[in-house]
């Protein structure tokens, strides 16, 4: 069971149109290392984890990832909300606009739609947790790439927060690996 709270985990307030960054941010909305992939990966893997601490970690980090997915969706929406068609086209979003207009669709910056083949659930606890640790590092690297692409504080502030969460999640999954190795 999930309960929705009508607020973001960390505030996002972008007022200037920025379709160029909207396109880049799609990496974290619908790309292989996206928040969506992270959430689905952990929430799927939790069922077959053999230890309650590891189940809890996959469940709770998976839940937090959905709040991060909502933050990224908000950032993309606010970046394209007031952009003109000319600005969308100049940012390379002609194809995106044609198919999704100002909707927020889970695809990579190059338009590849999200797919479950980005994630794995082997049912082997060690294999799954090591994948999760790698996923956190890939997402951290992606956030660092995004942070090199903009000087806008209204984008950098939530990006900094989200980057830091990847580091904390990596730490917790590392502790899960230790728990599993000692079983």
């Amino acid at each position: 069971m999930w309960i929705y709270q009508k607020k973001l985990e960390f505030p996002v307030n972008i007022t200037a149109p920025n379709p160029r960054m909207a396109k880049a941010l799609m990496a974290q909305y619908g790309g292989p290392d996206s928040e969506l992939g992270a959430g689905m990966r952990y929430l799927t893997q939790r069922f077959s984890m053999p230890d309650n601490r590891v189940k809890a970690t996959c469940n709770d980090i998976g839940t937090e990832e959905l709040a991060h997915w909502e933050m990224i969706g908000t950032m993309i929406f606010q970046c394209i909300r007031d952009a003109s068609l000319e600005e969308m086209e100049a940012a390379g979003l002609l194809g995106y606009y044609t198919m999704h207009s100002k909707g927020v669709f889970p695809a990579s910056p190059d338009g590849v739609p999200f797919t479950a083949s980005y994630i794995q659930c082997t049912g082997d606890p060690i294999a799954d947790i090591v994948e999760d640790m790698a996923a956190e590092q890939k997402a951290r690297a992606t956030y660092e790439h995004l942070m090199t692409l903009t000087d806008d504080a209204s984008l950098l502030s939530p990006l900094r927060f989200l980057r830091e969460r990847e580091i904390v999640h990596f730490q917790r999954f590392g502790e899960c690996l230790e728990i599993l190795q000692n079983m």
Binding site: Y4, K6, K7, E9, R53, E64, T74, Q78
Partner: protein
């Protein structure tokens, strides 16, 4: 707490919620850490008080029966991306 504006109160809720999320994830792998459990209880209680104060003044934050207040309207309040 009553002197805070709506956005200040929401910010305060987010701060306490962040501490609660952090402690929750830590306790997932360290369930026997008594000082951390005490901290989690303290921040959870303060968070609950802050949310009750917010909802009594500005309306429900949560769906599915978790925000019993006759003030405001869940549907009509601003969505976080607007």
């Amino acid at each position: 707490m009553n002197e805070m504006t709506q956005s200040e109160l929401l910010r305060k809720i987010s701060e306490y919620q962040f501490v609660a999320v952090e402690l929750n994830l830590y306790l997932d792998t360290h369930p026997g850490d008594e000082p951390a459990r005490a901290d989690y209880l303290f921040y959870s209680q303060t968070l609950e008080d802050l949310i009750k104060t917010y909802e009594a003044q500005y309306g429900p934050l949560m769906n599915f029966g978790h925000s019993p207040t006759d003030v405001g309207c869940y549907v009509e309040s601003q969505w976080p991306w607007d």
